[in-house]
């Protein structure tokens, strides 16, 4: 290759590079993209909770992106397994990713608490569809998430009242046996349940069984010995299933009631026949009851999920809050934070979503009552706390 040829080649290469850069930057200018992070359990013992919620975010974003907006939204996933330790490990990475302007999550309260130390300094807003621990929004608590934390569900004090009422329903002279799983979610929920249980019946026993215990037979024996006719469990579905199996195998016919940690679509299959009749609560209204058949078909098409699970409604609402802010041109973390904290949004159920200073819903919301029947979880209606 002679000198002239080399010069020509260099000019052509430089031109091509410059042209490419211009085209790319023009394309970037045409369609911008921001990222929302879904954070919750996608694997692990509590994976069903996150797997049930995720389609709510996927569906909301698919509807928005299908309108060909100037700013597209990319959904990423952070799997913190409903485990505070895992959350503490992955939260710094999420916070460091400047493309992420908001977190849909976390699903569990322990995850939220351990994510705050990373998200607060980064100014990264969180809207949780299901983290219900009271401390997360309690101004007196050192582990609150002010100012970045928000949730579209009422907190555990409200659910606890309903859970105790549901556990006592149609039970003559309720004798409660109350068991928690020692987690950030389970223990405070049961502490609140006890306050109502004392008023509407008698607490004949309590226990605190670590999450992922294999053998619940001694607890079942204690329930029998105490003569309890209603058992309330505050924990997650894997252990809830083991517990109710041990209880039924011990011959106990006491009512078994549990909160939203157990209310996941895989609970009936984990518990088998022992799960029949289990009473559940959750601050949620099933998505399929709130939308039309056409919308439900669109949801199924977008997510491949036929029957929306628990907290699809709240995840959909949480995602739509971000979408409203993005539509309003809020594309930075600071912009999102001020928009979410000060805005007023419409929920899929028709109500207005507005947050108080510490991230809770103004005006509260009813808690849903559910029952396991025929191997599926059925919604019975809302109960006021």
């Amino acid at each position: 290759m002679n000198k002239n040829s080399k010069r020509v080649l260099a000019v052509v290469a430089a031109s091509a590079l410059a042209f490419g850069t211009v085209v790319t930057s023009q394309a970037n200018a045409a369609v911008k993209e921001v990222t929302l992070m879904f954070q919750g359990p996608l694997t692990g013992p509590d994976a069903q909770l996150g797997q049930d919620q995720l389609p709510g975010a996927v569906y909301a974003i698919s509807i928005y992106n299908a309108t060909n907006p100037k700013v597209k939204i990319k959904l990423e996933k952070a799997d913190s397994q409903c485990d505070g330790t895992v959350a503490a490990n992955i939260a710094p990475g999420v916070a460091a990713n400047k493309k992420v302007i908001g977190v849909i999550g976390t699903s569990c309260s322990g995850e939220a608490k351990n994510s705050f130390p990373s998200y607060k300094p980064a100014g990264l807003t969180m809207i949780s569809p299901s983290a219900t621990n009271v401390d997360l929004s309690n101004p007196k608590s050192k582990s609150n998430g002010f100012p970045i934390f928000h949730r579209v569900v009422p907190f555990d004090s409200t659910q606890a009242v309903v859970l105790a009422k549901v556990a006592a329903k149609e039970v003559a002279s309720p004798k409660f046996y109350i068991v928690d799983d020692q987690t950030t979610y389970g223990k405070p929920l049961c502490d609140d349940v006890k306050l109502t249980a004392k008023k509407i019946g008698t607490i004949v026993g309590t226990d605190s069984v670590p999450k992922l215990t294999n053998d619940y037979s001694s607890v079942a024996s204690k329930v029998k010995a105490a003569g309890a006719n209603s058992v309330i469990y505050c924990g997650y579905q894997t252990d809830g299933a083991k517990f109710v199996k041990a209880l039924r195998d011990s011959g106990s016919t006491a009512v078994f009631a549990a909160g939203d940690g157990v209310n996941t679509s895989d609970f009936p299959s984990l518990a088998g026949a022992a799960g029949e009749g289990v009473r559940l609560t959750a601050p949620d209204v099933p998505f399929d009851l709130l939308v039309s058949k056409t919308e439900l078909a669109a949801f199924t098409k977008a997510t491949s999920v036929k029957v929306p699970g628990l907290y699809v409604t709240s995840t959909y609402d949480a995602t739509n809050i971000y979408i409203s802010c993005i539509k309003a041109g809020k594309l930075t973390r600071a912009g999102i934070q001020s928009c979410v904290a000060g805005g007023s949004f419409k929920g899929v159920g028709g109500g207005t979503i507005k947050f108080d200073r510490y991230g809770d819903l103004t005006g509260g919301a009813p808690v849903g009552e559910f029952v396991v029947k025929g191997g599926v979880i059925k919604y019975l209606g809302g109960v006021n706390g």
Partner: protein
């Protein structure tokens, strides 16, 4: 403290503790057999147990086509399913234990590596198996089908004699007695005992060391596989880390009874199962682990070689 539960549910707690304790015993036999011969804590044994529980799941779900919604079965179909599950788990665990010995320990042993190297290899193998299963199952718990209806065979002193509990207790005792007799009376059993006393002298007496050690791992795998089957039958669930807690409990049982001592592992498991049940009933489940380990420390302070252990570190019966 709740002592009333002990008076009203004493025999129920005993039966449940015995069943759980015998599952610990069967896993503890796996630890103690290997320790007796190699002076090595085979930490991978807890993961051999975990794989055994998944083997039961595979036999029942993939081979016999039952699932969590299946109704319990009866008669010949039930006997076939239970026997296939039991032997499936035992064979898988025995083969896996032999493979672990071959891959993780043999080369180190033949090259005269330190016990520390073998210990690290044991931990590495344990992590490999556990994390491998985590990835295969996405860390999600699995439920084994209820093939055996948990009917009551009657009551004794107010305790419900549930069929799965009784099967576990009877079968585990039979397995232990068979192992005890095998180690005591058979030629291979004598060879195992000889190797546990002195590798060098055994070699000089013409004993094939590799064969005996492989056999020891296989026997440990068989008892651990049986434990996996009984666990899956009684508790009907498994997860990638199911072996962790049970493995620690079984190892504790082996140490409590005197590690390296077959009868020690057996009685240590029973003692631990009963202790856990009663501690949980009286003090609350949150104090179960604390109580167990306080008792373990106290026992070891008084008898450093465990309840049945002697100063001589060898497989005794």
């Amino acid at each position: 403290m709740n002592f009333s539960v002990v008076t009203s549910e004493f025999w129920s707690l005993c039966l449940q503790g015995l069943a759980l304790g015998l599952i610990y015993s069967l896993i503890a036999l796996g630890y103690t057999m290997v320790y007796g011969v190699l002076r090595l804590i085979n930490f991978a044994n807890s993961e051999v147990f975990m794989i055994g529980t998944f083997a039961v799941l595979v036999v029942q779900v993939n081979l016999l086509h039952h699932d969590v919604t299946s109704q319990p079965i009866h008669g010949f179909a039930l006997a076939k399913a239970l026997i296939l599950s039991l032997f499936g788990a035992m064979i898988v665990c025995a083969l896996l234990a032999m493979l672990v010995e071959l891959v993780a320990y043999r080369r180190l042993r033949l090259h005269g590596s330190s016990r520390l190297a073998s210990l690290i290899s044991a931990i590495g193998t344990s992590i490999f198996l556990s994390e491998g299963m985590r990835n295969l199952t996405n860390s999600r718990p699995q439920t084994t089908p209820r093939l055996l209806e948990k009917t009551s065979l009657g009551t004794i002193w107010g305790a419900n004699l549930r069929i799965d509990t009784i099967i576990t207790i009877v079968a585990a005792i039979i397995i232990f007695l068979a192992l005890d007799q095998f180690v005591n009376r058979s030629r291979l059993g004598k060879a195992i005992r000889a190797v546990s006393m002195s590798e060098e002298n055994s070699r000089l007496m013409g004993i094939n060391l590799n064969k005996v050690i492989t056999l020891t791992f296989a026997i440990g795998g068989l008892t651990t596989g049986a434990a996996a089957f009984f666990y899956a039958t009684v508790y009907e669930n498994t997860i990638f880390n199911v072996g962790f807690n049970l493995g620690i409990a079984a190892f504790t049982a082996a140490v409590l009874g005197g590690i390296g001592n077959i009868r020690g592992a057996f009685y240590g498991g029973i003692a631990l199962g009963l202790l856990e049940q009663f501690a949980s009933a009286v003090l609350g489940s949150q104090w179960k682990a604390v109580t167990v380990f306080i008792v373990l420390v106290l026992v070891l302070l008084v008898k450093p070689s465990g309840i049945f252990g002697e100063a001589v570190q060898q497989t005794r019966t």
